[in-house]
Symmetry: C2
Subunit: 352 residues, 2 copies
């Protein structure tokens, strides 16, 4: 604390990201990274941009990247916003579209950055409890609000809300923006991007950190009506004219173009998830149905914090949240078959 701090800084409770360990050879299943590297075409595209032109500013409007993402979804570039990771995109949209008189709504079990953004921008919020089984009922969100946001599939539960339910919510909530945070959508869900032409208050966010294996490059997106995108651009241009560097933009464009590689790695992760779910169930774990690249699991006889600590002793890190309702759960990122086998072998020893 310092007398030079603004009142805001004194009050902030910053987000704490999952550990990025500096020790090598850990089996890192704690931050939902893709176990497979990015497409070779992404590497080649960055390679081609890597040179003398780094002296020049990037395109402040990121037109080519927005076009590549628009082409992927069959929409217009003006319906796309890009930012320095989806966390930056989320920050801007909280400020631009979710700050109104009434509180915003999000699930009680959800991405723990949402309340942090509310603190940063002085936005009132109300948590809507998930059902006992962690399913999300869109009917619970039909109440006065300044905006609605939830991840789909939800994090850290992995559970999916159907597009039918999302469309129902959009039809019953027209006075505020509904944000569907699709960080994990490519591992088994259907994107709501196809609905943006029909619902002017729908904003969909995505990231290249998970299904496109580019957490290290920092690229996030939002899709929606041009008026919503315009709001994000206005905030972005009041904050940082050039958030996307030249290499990130080149890599991201290539990632959207290499559909075959993308589909192949997603399918591998989905197959591993199925296998891991079966193996953990055999070890006595109860697993939430997951459409993400992680599973959310509890063991009825073992304390989750102790399990996480024991796994770390075996060189495997998973994520444990000390939060109400989920403190007996572990969030485990889907690794390669080899990583998953190391996890399973460690658990067999720990549980025996």
């Amino acid at each position: 604390m310092s007398r030079y701090w603004s009142k805001l800084v004194q009050q902030l409770s910053p987000y704490v990201p999952g550990e990025q360990p500096k020790i090598a050879n850990l089996v890192k299943l704690n931050t939902n990274e893709n176990p497979y590297g990015p497409s070779p075409k992404v590497i080649a595209a960055i390679q081609a941009e890597l040179g003398e032109q780094l002296r020049l500013y990037p395109d402040p409007t990121s037109t080519q990247l927005r076009q590549a993402a628009a082409d992927y979804y069959g929409i217009q570039a003006q319906q796309v916003f890009v930012g320095n990771g989806s966390d930056e995109v989320l920050a801007h949209l909280f400020n631009a579209l979710l700050k109104h008189e009434q509180p915003i709504l999000f699930p009680d079990i959800s991405y723990s950055f949402y309340p942090v953004y509310c603190g940063l921008y002085d936005i009132d919020y109300r948590c809507v409890p998930l059902a006992e089984d962690f399913s999300l009922n869109v009917k619970d969100y039909v109440q006065g609000n300044g905006g609605i946001i939830f991840p789909n599939p939800n994090a850290p539960t992995g559970r999916l809300v159907s597009l039918t339910d999302i469309e129902w919510l959009l039809q019953h909530n027209t006075d505020s923006v509904v944000v569907i945070d699709e960080a994990y959508i490519d591992f088994g869900g259907e994107s709501a991007v196809k609905l943006i032409d029909r619902y002017a208050n729908l904003l969909v966010t995505q990231t290249l950190s998970k299904s496109r294996s580019l957490a290290g490059l920092r690229v996030g997106l939002a899709f929606g009506h041009v008026d919503l995108i315009e709001a994000l651009i206005r905030v972005k241009d009041s904050f940082n004219s050039y958030p996307m560097d030249r290499l990130a933009e080149a890599g991201a464009i290539a990632a959207f173009k290499d559909k075959a590689y993308f589909e192949s790695t997603c399918n591998k992760v989905i197959a591993s998830r199925q296998h891991l779910t079966e193996a953990l169930t055999a070890l006595g774990f109860e697993i939430q149905p997951s459409a993400a690249n992680f599973i959310f699991a509890r063991h009825p006889q073992r304390d989750a914090a102790e399990l996480a600590a024991a796994l770390r002793g075996h060189g495997v890190i998973v994520r444990h949240f000390k939060l109400p309702r989920i403190e007996q759960y572990l969030r485990i990122t889907i690794g390669t078959s080899e990583q998953n086998n190391i996890l399973l072998a460690a658990l067999q020893i720990i549980l025996s």
Copy 2:
């Protein structure tokens, strides 16, 4: 305008960056980029990081980059903050350290992003007029304020304030933070970083976009007392945990380590500035004394907007600000000798 916009978005007046033309072969002297590319060691360092590990998040604390910058200045890594370009660093510091009861102070002729940040964060400000000759008198800033910020050398004038004057100001303004925005310091000034151990309210910002030829990579820094850096970290961790991508961090570390290349390009720019100043003076221009990688020039007989348009007709773009007091000036980035000669040849035709 849309009913879904927050009040803030409706009121914003975003910053307009200098044009990034999509036409090739223009002589681009409008956004103060370095005419020389980055160090070959920077390219090699990015190359080494370019691969499978892009699937993994970067270090959210950017410890190695902060250490490299600290080593360069002989300070501690905890006295360094890094962000996605100095515009992001500035945005965070306005929110964290310049938002208080009293208005902040900056020169009437200065970086035009400052009032935009004030709009974004609802900060009151007062512009302090530069002297008739555009020099900055630090005594004018000894008045009640919530913070002080100015670029040194100033932009777009290029004029330098001495470290003696900055130290005098720090001794006479101890109740608020003084930010010295050193985007252009390496082209002829002396950095105030050496003062941070003695003045707990001094924050110095820098960028790798100018003297280190990395505008395309987006890396900015702040140097100051650990308490000031802590305030920036708290805001950053409430906004985006991972603003620095892996490639930018690798390149930036290498840029700080290759001192010889850095000094050589800075010296070339300084020599070109001297030559260009003499040649433009011979053409009748009046030139502000510059310690930056640009010069600020007016021609007593010719309208600046018309000159800028005429230069564009010759394939040369320079920056013209339609703003009070400086509307008859052009801001011209120092190019290579070849680029400067094309500029001079065009001006000879235009002025004849």
